[in-house]
Symmetry: C2
Subunit: 228 residues, 2 copies
DNA sequence: TACAAACCAGACCATCTAGTCTGGAACGGC
DNA sequence: GCCGTTCCAGACTAGATGGTCTGGTTTGTA
């Protein structure tokens, strides 16, 4: 995930570098690009170096190993991901006081930029890529991903529970599971978009997700079209 | 996907071998195991050989290259996947004449064996793994995956359209997109299960999917609990 | 301005990996 | 029983890959 360079993400992208982009960041950017494009294990450090216009010496000065780069990669990715979660949730909270409407609005905001997200990320997600890497998982790198997932779950489940207090939920949906379904839809949509080489699936699947949420939460579709 | 060795899948697993498991199948099985576990590009042919208890000579007798193995792998996987789609859809069609109920029942059948599916597949899906491989995609290998996706979409969308003729759909959901959402949920749930090392997410996410379908299609939850 | 530390360039190395090659066993037809 | 074909075992190779090492430049600091 990660997607966008929101204002509260800027400090992140340009943290340490005083002037131009620092070598370490360039390496991370290059690695992220390549990892999203062909998977982490399929990208070589030489490719990362070439893409970043750097050198072997620089690489192993900043990272102890390729696995170390991987961990740094998911760390940055997950941090940006959670930041974008908070960003868009804050925007949604400006639209309405109703938690159900906020939730729907939250999904809608992603829906609107769905294609761009898929484009920017080459229809892929680092989570999906890294989760394959057993070594990295066994090396404590998975916790970063789980933390991000939990952050999403918590933020969304909170809204769902609050919404259930206002209107009865349709059927006996579990708030945590429903919250996870947002994450699940993102990840699945990435795969669909990539497999079919059609980034529009990102938007349409988020739309289906929103419609599902509206149906389950009992929210009217026209509740918050443009904060009218 | 693929999951289960249904009766109509048996011809497949034991096609050519007259007696025991043929070497080629053993190699494919080993490769599938490893690919599901650590990704295709991260598995070496030596590992495949070792896992299958075979040899270099045998491997390159049956497969022209590692990429060739990859294609054979997804071909088999996708074929079994579509077969299991048809299998469970046929079972669902025995339960009711109502397409909406059939659809819900279809999802429920997977829901029930969700954890086993995740277990058997090491919480992973070859589709997700291979979709990363750009080379294989550019080499015509992706069409196999797309074909399988389209098969799912077609079968499910057909039910949704038929269901919409009986009851009005909630909101203006697109049948194709809703059908794709089933595939999307599977893939996303795999990733969630793998990231959290918790196979139960497979079941709970399919449950959420079912509840969403019920809400959008206007089907009562008790419509077909156990074909009573 | 001196000097240590951080930073980087690129030749170099040990190992791994996909793929080849040669030799031989098993099998099927005749 | 002969022979061609399929099938398989394993040593071997050319190149890729992660990682090291030496030397040099830049930077911060006193």
């Amino acid at each position: 995930m990660v997607w966008f360079v929101t204002d509260r993400l800027v400090w992140y992208k340009s943290s340490m570098p005083p002037d131009g982009t620092k070598t370490r960041e360039r390496l991370l950017d290059a690695a992220e690009n390549l990892a999203l494009g062909k998977g982490f294990s399929a990208t070589t450090v030489d490719q990362v170096i070439a893409e970043a216009g750097s050198s072997k010496g620089a690489f192993f000065h900043h990272f102890a190993s390729k696995g170390d780069l991987g961990r740094a990669l998911v760390a940055r990715y997950a941090a940006a991901d959670v930041a974008s979660l908070e960003h868009f949730m804050a925007l949604a909270e400006d639209v309405s006081d109703d938690p159900a409407v906020q939730l729907v609005e939250f999904v809608r905001s992603f829906e609107e930029i769905g294609a761009e997200i898929a484009e920017e990320h080459q229809s892929s997600c680092l989570y999906a890529s890294f989760v394959q890497q057993r070594e990295l998982v066994e090396d404590g790198g998975a916790e970063l991903i789980v933390d991000a997932i939990v952050a999403w779950r918590r933020a969304l489940a909170e809204k769902i529970v609050a919404a259930a207090e206002l209107r009865p939920l349709a059927a006996d949906v579990d708030p945590d599971d429903l919250a996870d379904h947002v994450f699940v839809t993102f990840e699945g949509a990435f795969i669909l978009a990539r497999a079919t080489s059609d980034t529009s699936h990102m938007r349409t699947q988020l739309r289906v997700l929103r419609q599902s949420l509206e149906a389950l939460l009992g929210v009217r579709s026209e509740a918050a079209p443009e904060a009218r």
